[in-house]
């Protein structure tokens, strides 16, 4: 009797151990390649996820990264040429119009595994990996909304409060601007201008496009918004028109600007790091005047031509789990995209409590195939207006014309949300 019990117990233990080993080495010998943006944050989170995923499942994960512009080109080329190089790609929502059809629909997988897709902030999910017909082709893993960084010490000193309108913002920039330190800083480089203009236009109550895709900003408000942005040059560092996001972050953390209008996820990490920042503990983040900034979202997708879709899906689920999303926020400052993560985070860092709401109400650019061309054309005009080569009216008019032309090339079959 005793012997049988022992035998059974041993057998049970062996079986238990064997099943554990199976789960642990589930994908041993498999290898996937994932593509992320180089930013010190998203790619860093990918590398962390890769290491842990490998430890857990035995699958080797190669992380490839590229800077924003190059990422778009790389991804575009890979998809256009039917490349089998990548199994998981991190895609900016802005490119969904162009690239969406190239990704594997995930609806069935979500249902099969009971993946809690509803936990993801709807405002974010709608603009990242979701097609107008309800096909889900991406799981959001990071989201950010432009915000205003400001120096709490300087504000306290001068008795100032964070701005609620862009006019107040301009006034603050003027007051804070000294010969040694700029009032504010923003990314004036061509590729980054559009959001600043549209945000100001919207803050005035303007609407970008009508539901049937007609341009709505070719008017006084549109021109005024551009003039407002142009005026900011006077209170920004001298080289601001060549500043890209990293330059903005550096200017703020070095104390060279009293405010910064930029992406928290690209600046927060640096600003809180004593080794790099001279403003640790002396800054706070406020929402942009007018309420909602532009949203940048990144979603994980599986190209239809990927070789290891099963491992890819497991990696996506792993990386977007609540625990991991919290991890990446704590380590790198990457904003989670799930309510369950934010519930915990809001208690830990009350200063970020307003973020999920901001993300849910932030606005995003149209996800149509012609978007990259519209984006580039608009930026060229804006940049020329900002450097005084053409008038603001001419710029706005030209953008309106180009957008109309491009939209008419292939009218989307779904209505624009009307903002």
């Amino acid at each position: 009797m005793k012997r049988t019990t022992i035998a059974l117990a041993v057998a049970a233990m062996v079986i238990l151990a064997a099943t554990q080993a199976l789960a642990a080495g589930e994908f041993a010998g498999r290898e996937i390649t994932v593509l992320f943006m180089s930013s010190g944050t998203y790619d860093a989170s990918a590398r962390l996820a890769a290491a842990e995923f490998e430890a857990l499942t035995g699958a080797k994960v190669n992380v490839v990264d590229a800077p924003w512009t190059a990422l778009h080109e790389k991804l575009g080329i890979a998809l256009a040429t039917g490349s089998r190089d990548y199994d998981v790609v991190s895609v900016e929502g802005m490119w969904d119009g162009e690239m969406g059809p190239y990704f594997e629909p995930l609806n069935d997988l979500i249902e099969r595994d009971g993946f809690p897709y509803d936990d993801f902030i709807p405002g974010v999910a709608k603009n990242a990996g979701q097609a107008a017909d309800g096909t889900i082709f991406g799981i959001p893993h990071a989201a950010d909304a432009v915000a205003i960084f400001y120096r709490t010490d300087l504000f306290a000193e001068l008795g100032l409060k964070p701005p609620t309108t862009y006019d107040e913002y301009a006034e603050l920039a003027r007051i804070l601007h000294t010969s040694k330190r700029a009032g504010t800083v923003f990314a004036g480089v061509r590729e980054q201008l559009l959001k600043y203009w549209i945000t100001r236009y919207r803050a005035m109550g303007g609407v970008m496009l009508s539901p049937d895709w007609k341009v709505q900003f070719n008017n006084e408000k549109g021109v005024q918004a551009l003039e407002q942005l142009k005026a900011m040059k006077d209170y920004a560092p001298a080289g601001v028109m060549s500043y890209d996001n990293p330059d903005v972050a550096i200017a703020f953390v070095n104390g060279d600007a009293a405010m910064a209008e930029t992406w928290p996820s690209l600046t927060l990490g640096m600003a809180s790091d004593p080794a790099q920042s001279s403003v640790v503990g002396k800054f706070a983040i406020a929402p942009v005047p007018g309420g909602s900034g532009e949203m940048s979202t990144w979603h994980l997708s599986i190209p239809k031509t990927a070789r290891n879709k099963d491992v890819a899906w497991e990696f996506i689920k792993f990386m977007t789990s609540t625990d991991n999303q919290l991890r990446y926020q704590r380590e790198f400052g990457v904003n989670p995209t799930r309510y369950s993560a934010w519930e915990i985070l809001a208690k830990e860092k009350p200063e970020l409590a307003g973020v999920p709401q901001a993300l849910n109400t932030a606005w995003a650019f149209p996800r149509i195939p012609q978007w990259p061309q519209m984006y580039d054309a608009a930026n060229i005009q804006l940049s020329q207006a900002m450097s005084g080569q053409i008038s603001c009216e001419a710029a706005v008019r030209s953008i309106a014309n180009t957008w109309t032309e491009l939209i008419n090339q292939l009218k989307p079959d779904f209505a624009w949300r009307g903002d």
Binding site: S39, T41, N62, K74, D85, I250, D256
Partner: protein
């Protein structure tokens, strides 16, 4: 008066040297600066502390070694093929009188390929390589660079072969050597210095090339220049690491170039100037 002119001359030459060397020195200094001294206004000229950290990391990291290996293989193979094919073609054009003044036409065609802007073939290259499944293979760039280098090699060697006294080859021929043998036994050894320097220049051109490298390569096969351009990242200006990467990339080029620059004038000017 003469002494004054000499001093003036030395001064100007000194300025020219500074003009060349100061930026290079800056590149090196940046590569060894500590992070807190990188972004300073006014810039730190002489760092208070240096670190060779970046060099250590890069030399042991696949992010440098992989592209370095790719660059090495691609440049080497492309150099060998373009030098061999180009020298052979040049010899033929120098010795063989073709009908309808084809010698001039062909030489002119080689010249033309140097003249037109490379971007004109960039898009079709991309489409063709995609069709043949050669995207993201080293062969794509090897074929491309062989084509690029041919015109330089042909024009360089053409001059050498044209100037070689024909009597030596005639003598060998009379002694019973065939055309190929003559070429290998007589012509080649005599023009070896020219050939060697041509090969070096072809290597440098292939090593430095960017446009086609960025178009035709991807994850596995990217070359050093592509990696360097990738440093204009979105989060932090990784100046120190970028500078270290650049220093490592240009080191072989500088060494080779210094050794052979004298001989390269002929090919670079399509024979207009004899080096």
């Amino acid at each position: 008066m003469r002494r004054f002119l000499n001093v003036g001359r030395a001064f100007l030459i000194g300025l020219a040297l500074l003009w060349v060397l100061v930026p290079l020195a800056w590149l090196f200094v940046t590569s060894i600066k500590m992070p807190n001294e990188l972004f300073q206004d006014p810039p730190v000229l002489i760092p208070s502390a240096v670190t060779f950290e970046h060099y250590r990391t890069l030399l042991s990291s696949p992010s440098f070694r992989q592209p370095a290996v790719n660059s090495l293989i691609i440049a080497s193979v492309a150099t060998i093929t373009s030098t061999v094919l180009g020298a052979m073609a040049a010899y033929s054009l120098a010795r063989w009188r073709l009908p309808w003044r084809l010698n001039g036409v062909l030489a002119g065609w080689f010249l033309l390929t140097r003249m037109y802007p490379a971007i004109s073939t960039a898009i079709p290259y991309f489409l063709l390589m995609k069709t043949f499944g050669l995207l993201d293979t080293r062969w794509a760039l090897i074929i491309t660079y062989t084509g690029f280098n041919l015109s330089f090699v042909v024009w360089q060697m053409l001059g050498y072969y044209q100037e070689l006294p024909i009597d030596l080859e005639n003598a060998a021929f009379v002694d019973g050597a065939g055309t190929l043998q003559t070429f290998l036994r007589i012509t080649m050894p005599l023009t070896l210095p020219g050939l060697a320097s041509t090969a070096v220049f072809a290597f440098i051109m292939s090593w430095n090339e960017f446009l086609f490298a960025v178009i035709l390569t991807s994850v596995g096969t990217k070359t050093l220049p592509v990696s360097i351009a990738g440093f204009i990242t979105d989060k932090s200006l990784a100046w120190a690491e970028m500078s270290a990467f650049s220093m490592l990339t240009i080191l072989p080029v500088i060494v080779f170039a210094l050794a052979t620059q004298r001989y390269l004038v002929r090919g670079m000017t399509m024979g207009a100037v004899k080096g």
